[in-house]
């Protein structure tokens, strides 16, 4: 049964990828990207990677196609055809790279083999001891936030850098920051009344669900990354239906920009706190007398930092794109 589901999902993924290559219109490719994200999320659920599926469903199927749509609304929906040029060199390069990648997979252990290196190195220790050492049932959270806290710090900094880069590229000299919308009233000629009414009942629950995912991440699928993207999706949905000026009055751009740095700061300060006590960076044992309690506090604090940064960077990026759309698109 699971094999059948796997085969169907994977063939749908391949079909979508092929369609993505063949289709010409930019709007259609964006929709296909979104479908690809949704299919990947379903596939991750089948693989028991629910934590990743959460993020993929929100970012891959939701937020990133939205950002692409906003860009297409500014630059136009048709791809420029380069007349007559045959990109032989590019095709050759792509073919060679693809062939090398496929050759590379031949060395990989068979899917799901018990003696694959990934299952022999540190994974057994995480699976056997993480419950005792951190007191947290969800192994993904304890690996991400405690054993591999350095890597996660790196990821958070990457996300923060992405937000900074978007502001640097898209913010012009006149508006310093992600969005400084003109206070002109929203065009009320064609309001999305039904969408607004329905979304108004849903958004509070989306935000509540984000908090649930954030603080329940120790016990079930979830954590800072997932909560951040869900929270940002709720905010972005509001922004889509009520316009950029309205959402900027609710959540002011300077505050979000500050928050995106604040999350990284919370994470880093947690690490430095342990250094001040003479322990290694990000060693949580200084946070409380009981080691398990200390682990739990540390994981909660850095997950909070991750959540704050992810949510605010996504909102910042949305603001920057939507601001471009409102100033150039209309």
């Amino acid at each position: 049964m699971e094999l059948a589901v796997n085969i169907v999902l994977l063939s749908l993924l391949v079909t979508t990828a092929a369609a993505l290559v063949l289709v010409r219109g930019l709007l259609a490719s964006i929709m296909l990207t979104s479908i690809y994200g949704l299919l990947s999320a379903s596939f991750f659920v089948i693989m028991d990677a629910v934590d990743v599926a959460f993020t993929e469903a929100a970012v891959g199927a939701g937020v990133s196609p939205l950002l692409l749509l906003l860009s297409v609304a500014v630059i136009g929906r048709h791809e420029a055809r380069n007349a007559g040029a045959r990109p032989l060199f590019a095709v050759l390069l792509v073919g060679i790279t693809g062939a090398l990648l496929i050759v590379g997979t031949l060395d990989m252990p068979a899917f799901g083999r018990a003696d694959a290196p990934a299952h022999l190195h540190v994974a057994p220790r995480y699976l056997l001891l993480s419950g005792e050492e951190t007191g947290i049932p969800n192994v993904v959270t304890s690996v991400l936030a405690s054993y591999r806290a350095y890597d996660t710090l790196g990821e958070v900094i990457v996300i923060f850098t992405a937000g900074v880069a978007v502001i640097l590229i898209l913010a012009s000299g006149t508006h310093r920051g992600s969005a400084r919308p003109h206070s002109a009233p929203v065009d009320t000629k064609d309001p999305h009344t039904i969408l607004q009414v329905v979304s108004k009942t849903m958004i509070p629950f989306m935000l509540l669900f984000a908090f649930y995912v954030q603080f329940h991440g120790d016990y079930g699928p979830g954590g800072g990354f997932q909560a951040g993207v869900i929270f940002a999706s709720g905010i972005i949905l509001y922004g889509l239906l009520y316009g950029l000026p309205a959402i900027c009055r609710v959540i002011r751009p300077p505050v979000v920009e500050l928050c995106s740095a604040l999350g990284v700061l919370v994470y880093g300060v947690t690490g430095i706190l342990s250094m001040l006590q003479g322990r290694p960076f990000l060693d949580y044992s200084v946070l409380a007398d009981d080691p398990i309690r200390a682990q739990q506090i540390g994981i909660m604090v850095i997950e909070l930092g991750v959540g704050i940064t992810v949510a605010s960077v996504l909102i910042v990026i949305y603001y920057a794109f939507a601001n471009q759309f409102e100033t150039n698109g209309n």
Binding site: D190, H192, I194, L195, V198, T201
Partner: protein
């Protein structure tokens, strides 16, 4: 036993409706007929399937979660159909006849 039958019938009806919706989506002539086919059947079919699963489940937590999903689908599915149809109308898509060739006459005041 009785409940098993009810749940089975609900699941079958739901699957059948999904199939008809997919068929309509592929075969109907113009945009609005297609969105009618999948929008209407999708809500009812998903509700049927979720109700069938609700009866199958024997503990409270999954039942509650399924109920929440049902509520979400009942709200979001018609709304998304509406959003699609409205976006198409605003983009200038107009209803066409059964072959998808001739535009249909519009009620007075619309253009």
């Amino acid at each position: 036993m009785m409940l098993d039958w009810v749940s089975g019938v609900l699941l079958l009806v739901g699957s059948f409706l999904l199939l008809t919706g997919a068929l309509g989506f592929l075969r109907f002539a113009d945009f609005y007929a297609r969105i009618h086919a999948c929008g209407v059947t999708e809500t009812l079919a998903t509700s049927c399937i979720l109700l069938g699963l609700l009866i199958q489940s024997d503990s409270a937590v999954p039942q509650f979660k399924l109920l929440l999903i049902l509520l979400f689908v009942l709200l979001s599915s018609p709304t998304s159909s509406h959003a699609l149809a409205k976006a198409a109308w605003n983009a200038g898509v107009r209803p066409r006849d059964n072959r998808g060739k001739q535009p249909l006459p519009l009620p007075p005041g619309e253009h």
